[in-house]
């Protein structure tokens, strides 16, 4: 089997202790929660931290607090997240996204914070060391060129988190804690469009909490495109959230695409405000989203086709928001109701 490289292992009991270790160890340390992303990557020699700082035993990261909105500890496993009372009713897109991450076994290990910090993915990168050696490596690790587009100055690896688009659409903020202090930022601000430096988290910062506003009349929906009903990372994620007036007029809306860029792609959806979600309006927004999406040939399935179906998937999400019964379509696409 593939073996892990050697590393030191630390298991702090508190966020403060974990932050201190990170500050002390500097760039040689990495946080590990469920390990479902990091450990396979370490086996393929993508990351070779000298020290792993496990946050699995930090109880504070498992906290769930209702108040003005919902505070979710970043250490909740995705399975635990799905068991949060009222999640599906109040923050449906998040529940739909979390339920479609990987497989049940991986959701039992993988955490919310881990999914938000998920390494970007690329078929030239998510390979073991020997395979990457056979292509003389790539810019994301050990090499110079981006094989996806050899003229590209930046790495084009794909943001593949399901929960981030959903949470951005829901207006989530996240808390980052380091030995030097803490800050709270909008989740969208955590990301930048670069396959290598895809997170604006500083190496010594710990993502501790996700903060969701009160639903306050907002509805949401998440649709995921992937080859199979389980296991696969998204080829496209569509998260839509809207606040609708009693007559169906959109008061405010947010639309976010996943897996078509190196960061979750926020689509300008001002055009929706003051209008009803008619078929025409939905088609218009779908086309706008489609023109923004830039899928590359570095994940599964044909890239032209992946771009082509963006408008359709935006349509599914918006029709679900409108109140259409999308369960038959959901079953065909997702192979399950979520």
């Amino acid at each position: 089997m593939m073996r892990l490289p050697w590393f030191d292992y630390r298991a702090p009991r508190s966020v403060e202790e974990a932050a201190k270790i990170l500050a002390w160890e500097g760039n040689g340390a990495m946080l590990i929660a469920g390990g479902t992303d990091l450990l396979p990557n370490m086996k393929r020699r993508h990351q070779m931290p000298q020290t792993l700082v496990s946050v699995r035993q930090v109880e504070a990261l498992k906290k769930i607090a209702n108040g003005s909105g919902l505070r979710l500890g970043a250490g909740l496993t995705l399975t635990e997240l799905l068991a949060v009372r009222g999640l599906r009713e109040r923050y449906r897109a998040l529940a739909q996204a979390a339920a479609q991450v990987a497989t049940p076994q991986l959701r039992n290990m993988g955490t919310l914070g881990g999914n938000l910090c998920l390494d970007t993915r690329c078929t030239y990168y998510n390979q073991n060391y020997e395979w990457r050696k056979a292509i003389d490596f790539c810019m994301k690790k050990d090499g110079e060129v981006c094989w996806v587009a050899t003229a590209s100055k930046r790495c084009l690896a794909v943001s593949s988190t399901d929960t981030a688009p959903a949470l951005i659409a829901l207006g989530a903020r996240v808390k980052l804690v380091s030995a030097a202090g803490e800050r709270e930022i909008a989740l969208a601000e955590l990301y930048q469009n670069d396959g290598i430096d895809y997170l604006k988290r500083k190496p010594d910062e710990i993502l501790t909490e996700v903060l969701l506003p009160q639903p306050d009349g907002w509805r949401s929906s998440y649709w995921k495109l992937r080859r199979r009903g389980s296991f696969d990372f998204p080829l496209l994620g569509v998260a839509a959230a809207a606040k609708l007036a009693a007559d169906g007029t959109v008061e405010a809306a947010r639309l976010v695409l996943g897996a078509v860029s190196s960061h979750p792609l926020v689509i300008k959806s001002d055009a929706l405000a003051g209008r009803k979600l008619t078929d025409d309006v939905i088609a218009e927004i779908g086309e706008a989203a489609q023109s923004r999406a830039k899928p590359m040939d570095n994940t599964d399935m044909d890239l032209r086709w992946r771009k082509h179906v963006v408008a359709d998937f935006v349509g599914y999400a918006l029709r679900e928001l409108r109140g259409d019964d999308m369960s038959a379509m959901r079953l065909r696409i997702a192979k399950q109701l979520v």
Binding site: M1, M2, R3, T103, T123, N126, Q127, N128, E130, W131, K133, A134, I135, D136, V145, W147, T150, R227, R228, G229, S230, F231, D232, D300, M301, D302, R304, W305, H308, V309, D312, R332, I333, K335, Q336
Partner: protein
């Protein structure tokens, strides 16, 4: 076989398979579960180049790395191997030349896997890159870049042509001639168990290899050849395989490496391949380009077919010579086909070697033929099910190519599949976006000839019973998850009238068991089963002859049932099976019988006529329902119905599991599985790599993607088979892919003439349809292949005798 008529008590009843308990409890020991004291670990260094000469290899740093015991290179293995005698083209470690990314060049044996892995990085290999061949078209266009020095010419490994009756003449006289091109992408077996092997030297100094192999006997022979030690000094144990599907039929380089290392070090040496290495070892489905020209009469009967295939063989021979034959030879078995011409060519490319995968060479032409039949039915305005039903081959008939069909339940399969799927109410009658498709297939129940030429039995069974009442059955057959041990126990138990619980199976061990050729070509149930039946019947005769006096009856009237032996006319007068054995043992001494099986001689006597004949053929018919989204091309398969002519199901629950497993694999091949490769921009890199050698990125169906499968087992016992039981391991996969393609046509009116069928291809075809163009996605051209002059054989109904004969008209002159 003369089993006295009695009600079957074991055969035909659904039972928990004999190895189920150990599997469920985790007690079964796969090769990778084995641990021995003082065991060392091996890891292989594999080539990062697709095609290169090894200029130098310096392992000195690796040898002095702490914890390293041995480094092996190509120099340690002067003798090549190859599963087929005509293709001895592979070395355990490449000595001079590497031919694909992943070709092994050196091995490190160290105290643990981690250390071995570290030391691999210390081996310095200098390569000189050679031009690469990525496709059959390139292989044909660049004969000067030879991947091997042997073969027919250039990069052509095998090239063959047969003509059974004058096909051009028949096509010229046909009412319609349909010409179609199809492409079937390669894919891999994806067994759950990655290959593992443990070699050790036993107390007597003999070599013992425990390995994930489907064919311990062939491996045994190859080990003797490569290691140059007598076969009697080697024992191979085939551990229960966690799935094989053909991927563990070839000997693997890693198996020779651990044996050599154990011999040199005198310590046990183990290796476990990574999943990526399993993708490199491969031996999976050949990518095949096909051209079919088929003559059809006005009323929908085939008059002739000219089939051409071009196989992408990858870097080595493997089973290639057989694979090449199999892209044609079973084609005439399903439907009456008066004349048949078949040309096949396998080329080498710089990719992992292709070989046998479930269905071995036959899914590809079956896909082409069954999709073409759908087109024929549409053109002639016939129901595709009825078209097929009207021309199924007759029981006991010969094909144009001299294969003996034997029993056939194909007509019944078609009728049943049509009935349970509600075909008549659905085909061409469902709303747009929904459709059903039908397809049929056949498969052999064991290859009629062995991989190496010999006159010995294909399977041997030894049976031991003693006064305890236990029955021990020894056979070289190999349990790869398909249930061969269960079949073995069931057949013996049925004949001796005992429960399978008293039968102990000792299988797949060349040191203990009689030779069986292995778990391939769907041969186990019929060949091992017939041998087991013979051994068990001989045992029953001995017992009957010994106890009849006590029972006051004649030997023929002694009955064996439910663990008792009694007089048939007076069931109260009897004894337990153990008591009967004790009486027999007292009379005859220690009790053991043997049985063996050799397939009948094939009727075709022409050279090459040995590939295709089988003692029996299974048949299947499948209906697939699809829903296609016309806006996105998204394909959803809600249900599959399949009828399989199994002759008789030994253990119906196991047989159904096999059918559903075959459908599962077939649906994966239809919709997503593909072993594909990628080149980088040639100005920047000469790389030629497997795109996705991982279980996550190589897509096969998950449980959620699997539709409901309704299975009908058609049981019409075949006299050549034990209790009439035919194969079920491979056949049910075969009709699934064309049935999916045909269903998609029924749903949205587009033809996808290549596999896998993906949403982007469907959408592209729908766009063509919207533009008024031919709504088809598939290969556009068939390259010029220098096929040889065909061997001409007259069909049985044209006065042939099964030998090669003269063509009735001069070659090269087209019939008028």
């Amino acid at each position: 076989m003369s089993a006295p008529q009695k009600r079957l008590e074991v055969v035909g009843r659904s039972r928990r398979r004999v190895d189920a308990r150990a599997k469920v409890l985790g007690q079964l020991r796969f090769a990778d579960d084995l641990v021995l004291p003082r065991m060392l670990h091996a890891k292989l260094l594999r080539s990062p180049h697709p095609h290169a000469v090894i200029e130098s290899l310096d392992a000195s740093r690796a040898r002095s790395h702490p914890g390293v015991h041995l480094v092996l290179t190509g120099r340690d293995f002067p003798v090549p191997f190859g599963i087929m005698p005509v293709s001895q083209d592979e070395y355990p470690l490449a000595p001079e030349r590497v031919r694909y990314v992943g070709d092994p060049v050196a091995a490190v044996i160290a105290r643990d896997e981690q250390t071995a892995g570290e030391a691999l990085e210390l081996i310095e290999v200098k390569y000189r890159a050679l031009p690469t061949i990525a496709t059959p078209e390139e292989a044909l266009a660049h004969p000067e870049t030879r991947i091997h020095d042997y073969g027919e010419q250039g990069n052509i490994h095998r090239n063959q042509a047969y003509e059974f009756g004058d096909v051009e003449d028949a096509l010229a006289n046909a009412d319609h001639v349909f010409e179609d091109l199809f492409f079937y992408e390669g894919n891999t077996h994806l067994p759950m168990e990655q290959q593992a092997s443990l070699a050790a030297i036993d107390g007597e100094g003999k070599l013992l290899l425990s390995s994930s192999t489907q064919n311990p006997h062939y491996l045994h022979r190859q080990l003797a050849q490569v290691l140059q030690i007598p076969a009697a000094q080697i024992r191979v144990i085939a551990c229960p395989n966690g799935g094989g599907f053909g991927g563990k039929c070839d000997p693997g380089g890693h198996e020779f490496v651990v044996c050599k290392a154990a011999l040199l070090l005198g310590r046990p040496v183990k290796i476990g391949l990574t999943r990526q290495e399993v993708f490199y070892v491969h031996r999976g489905r050949h990518p095949v380009l096909m051209k079919l020209r088929t003559g059809v009469s006005r009323d929908g009967r085939l008059t002739a077919m000219h089939l051409q295939t071009l196989l992408d063989g990858g870097a080595y021979g493997s089973h290639g010579p057989a694979s090449t034959f199999y892209t044609g030879v079973l084609t005439p078995v399903t439907y009456e086909l008066p004349r048949f011409k078949f040309e096949a060519c396998r080329v080498f490319t710089n990719k992992p070697a292709c070989g046998p995968k479930r269905g071995h060479g036959t899914p590809q032409p079956r896909f082409g033929q069954e999709v073409q039949l759908d087109k024929i039915a549409e053109k002639l305005r016939l129901d595709p099910a009825k078209l097929r039903l009207n021309m199924v081959t007759k029981p006991g008939s010969l094909t144009a190519s001299w294969l003996r069909v034997g029993t056939t339940g194909l007509a019944e399969c078609i009728r049943k599949a049509v009935e349970i799927s509600g075909w008549k109410a659905k085909h061409r009658k469902l709303p747009p976006g929904r459709g059903v498709g039908i397809a049929c297939s056949t498969y052999m129940c064991g290859a009629g000839v062995s991989i190496y030429w010999n006159k010995m039995p294909h399977s041997g069974v030894q049976l031991l019973v003693d006064r305890s009442g236990q029955v021990t059955v020894f056979c070289g057959s190999t349990e790869i998850g398909q249930g061969s041990d269960d079949v073995l126990a069931a057949i013996v138990a049925e004949v001796l009238g005992v429960d399978t619980g008293v039968v102990r199976c000792v299988t797949g061990d060349t040191g203990l068991t009689p030779v069986d050729l292995g778990s391939y070509s769907s041969r186990v149930t019929i060949m091992m089963g017939n041998a087991a039946m013979q051994a068990a019947e001989r045992m029953r005769e001995q017992i009957a002859g010994s106890v009849c006096e006590t029972l006051g009856t004649t030997p023929e009237r002694v009955a064996f049932s439910q663990g008792r032996v009694f007089a048939a006319e007076d069931p109260g007068k009897g004894m337990s099976f153990a008591e009967a054995v004790a009486i027999t043992e007292a009379k005859l001494g220690t009790l053991s019988t043997v049985g063996s099986y050799t397939p009948p001689k094939p009727p075709g006597k022409y050279k090459g006529g040995g590939v295709g004949p089988s003692p029996a053929y299974s048949f299947s018919a499948c209906v697939v329902a699809v829903e296609v989204d016309e806006k996105t091309g998204w394909i959803h398969v809600p249900k599959i119905w399949i009828a399989h002519d199994i002759g008789r199901a030994i253990n119906p629950v196991l047989a159904r599991g096999q059918v559903i497993g075959g459908v599962y694999m077939g649906l994966g091949e239809a919709l997503m599985e593909e072993q594909v490769f990628r080149r980088l921009p040639p100005k920047l890199s000469a790389a030629l790599v497997h795109r996705i050698p991982s279980m996550l990125d190589y897509k096969s169906l998950t449980a959620l993607d699997m539709p409901e499968v309704e299975v009908a087992l058609i049981e019409d016992p075949d006299p050549n088979c034990p209790f009439g039981a035919k194969e079920v391991g491979q056949g049910p996969l075969l009709p699934v892919m064309p049935a999916v393609a045909n269903a998609i046509y029924d749903a949205v009116g587009v033809r996808i003439d290549e596999l896998p069928i993906t949403p982007d291809k469907v959408l592209a075809a729908l766009e063509l349809k919207a533009q008024g163009k031919t709504p088809r996605i598939g290969p556009a051209r068939f390259p010029e292949v220098p096929y040889p002059k065909p061997m001409f054989v007259l069909p049985p109904w044209e006065g042939g005798d099964g030998n090669e004969s003269k063509m009735p008209r001069p070659l090269g002159v087209a019939a008028s």
